[in-house]
Amino acid sequence: MQRFSCPFCGLRDEREFHFAGEAGKTRPDTTQDVSDKEWANYLFFCKNTKGPTREIWVHTTCQEYFIMERDSVTMEVLGTTAMRKDTA
């Protein structure tokens, strides 16, 4: 059982969290032309890094999304930060 630190609630059981995707993806402006490739890259493709990663997670009990840096091999958590600096 792993534990993650929600920036708002502190250390909690992994069961309270949900992986929401890799950090750093921006939704294309769909009011403009978006190519199939661009859309597929945004929607499906990912780095899936082995080793230190930067991901978005949600703490389902407080429903806040946050950024977690962790190692996908050792499972070590390297740090968590709120998405918005002013609420951290």
Partner: protein, 435 residues
């Protein structure tokens, strides 16, 4: 030692030493009388050559089957299979050995049923007993609404030419008396989707059998050789760099489930894949109590009984993306409590061992077979939790792709371009069956 073995087997092929290569009851008997001293090695341990017609990265089931069919179906024998550890050491040796083709969409059916059909003949084809046991696979239903969805799936399978039956609870009880038939169960059994041709196989034997057969066709299987990069010249792949040096080839196939994204980064292409740990469990051996495979979609747990007697248990993916080949306790509790819910009589059976493999999870849980995006590199990945059952077909169509440069009709729908066209093949969408 390695070189001695290589020499010995080289001599054996020339008929200078009478080593037993063909397997049969008779050869076991004859060797038994001689103290089993005459068995030939299952495969050589050759040093890599400078260049090959095709390089297959990954000495798991898919990679070895690919090499075998390259040689057998396409006459391409100058093939190297490069494995960073020991052959069959990835998901081929870590799964729960289920083989089935109870799929909803015709595209999936064609692929997975090709696999079942190849499995049906495999032991004799490769002269190695992979113990494909067609004891049947049942997907339980727990409500009348699920029975309706089940009949949708059964009809789809029948229309697609695959054997399928809709069982009522009495039929289920006949086939698997050990399950939970209490009417007050949280998930009472109403019936099941049954595929009689489904079942289990001996996972290691599939890797070993293909390796032996490929080796006999002249394929070089190079273990303990890790790919560290691709030789890219003018944007085109010309081979690989490995811990044993450069090996050149114009066609490189990548079949490294669990690490597909790592190779993708080296090869300069992208994949829509996340790696997750998938756990499996085995109990101590008990006398036969379960003659089929049963899966409960509500708990996500399933089990069968191995020929040795151990109950082989599986469930859903761990919830944390991972490259660690170990699982997490919450999933263990979910899967094992689900098993007792399914079959309370198993409560006192002891868990012997649990482990995990790393699987490629694609957005539609269907595999990706096709050109990688970097010229000269082809991919076979994204099998999710169900790669084992697809080994023969995966190898068969991937060999076709590597040999001809073109898709086999069966693999075309699984080309990665589907993520651009939107033609996803999400089985869960139609059949409600997790992979």
């Amino acid at each position: 030692m390695t070189s001695t073995l290589a020499q010995k087997s080289a001599k054996a092929t020339q008929g200078e030493i009478d080593m037993t290569r063909h397997y049969s009851a008779f050869s076991v008997f004859r060797e038994g009388l001689k103290g089993h001293k005459g068995w030939a090695p299952l495969w050589r341990s050759p040093a890599p050559q400078d260049a090959y017609d095709v390089i297959v990265i990954g000495g798991g089931g898919h990679g070895l089957a690919t090499a075998y069919y390259l040689a057998k179906n396409h006459g391409i024998r100058k093939v190297a299979v490069i494995e960073k550890g020991w052959l069959g050491g990835g998901n081929t040796g870590r799964n729960t050995t289920v083989i089935r083709s109870n799929y909803f969409y015709p595209e999936s059916t064609r692929l997975y049923d090709l696999s079942v059909r190849l499995y049906e003949k495999l032991s004799r084809d490769i002269n190695y007993n992979v113990m494909f046991s067609q004891r049947g696979m049942m997907v339980l239903t727990h409500s009348e609404a699920e029975m309706e969805i089940a009949s949708r799936t059964v009809n789809a399978m029948q229309i697609n030419g695959v054997d399928a039956e809709l069982l009522d609870v009495k039929d289920v009880q006949k086939k698997a008396p050990i399950l939970n038939y209490r009417s007050d169960a949280r998930y009472p059994i109403h019936g099941a989707i049954f595929q009689g041709r489904g079942g289990t196989g001996r996972h290691d034997a599939v890797a070993w059998g293909y390796a032996r057969a490929a080796d006999q066709q002249g394929v070089d299987i190079i273990q303990n050789c890790e790919v560290t990069g691709f030789l890219i010249e003018g944007g085109v792949c010309k081979g690989v760099e490995t811990t044993l040096g450069k090996i050149r080839s114009d066609r490189v196939g990548v079949a490294v489930a669990g690490h597909s994204s790592v190779l993708a980064e080296m090869g300069g292409y992208n994949l829509p894949i996340n790696s997750y740990a998938l756990q499996a469990f085995v109990t101590e051996a008990v006398k036969p109590v379960m003659d089929t495979v049963a899966f409960s979609p509500m708990t996500g747990s399933y089990f069968s009984q191995s020929d040795k007697g151990g109950l082989v248990i599986g469930g859903g993916l761990d919830r944390i993306p991972s490259y660690a080949q170990r699982g997490n306790t919450p999933t263990q509790e979910t899967v094992l409590s689900g098993i007792i819910e399914m079959a309370p009589a198993l409560a006192k059976v002891k868990l012997l061992r649990h482990w995990a493999g790393n699987v490629d999870v694609s957005p539609d849980s269907s595999p990706l077979i096709g050109p990688s995006g970097t010229q000269g590199i082809y991919i076979n990945c994204g099998w999710g939790t169900g790669g084992f059952k697809a080994i023969p077909a995966g190898g068969y169509v991937f060999a076709h792709l590597l040999a001809t440069g073109n898709h086999h009709d069966i693999s075309r729908p699984f080309d990665p371009d589907r993520f651009r066209t939107g033609r996803l093949l999400d089985e869960a969408a139609g059949s409600g069956i997790a992979h």
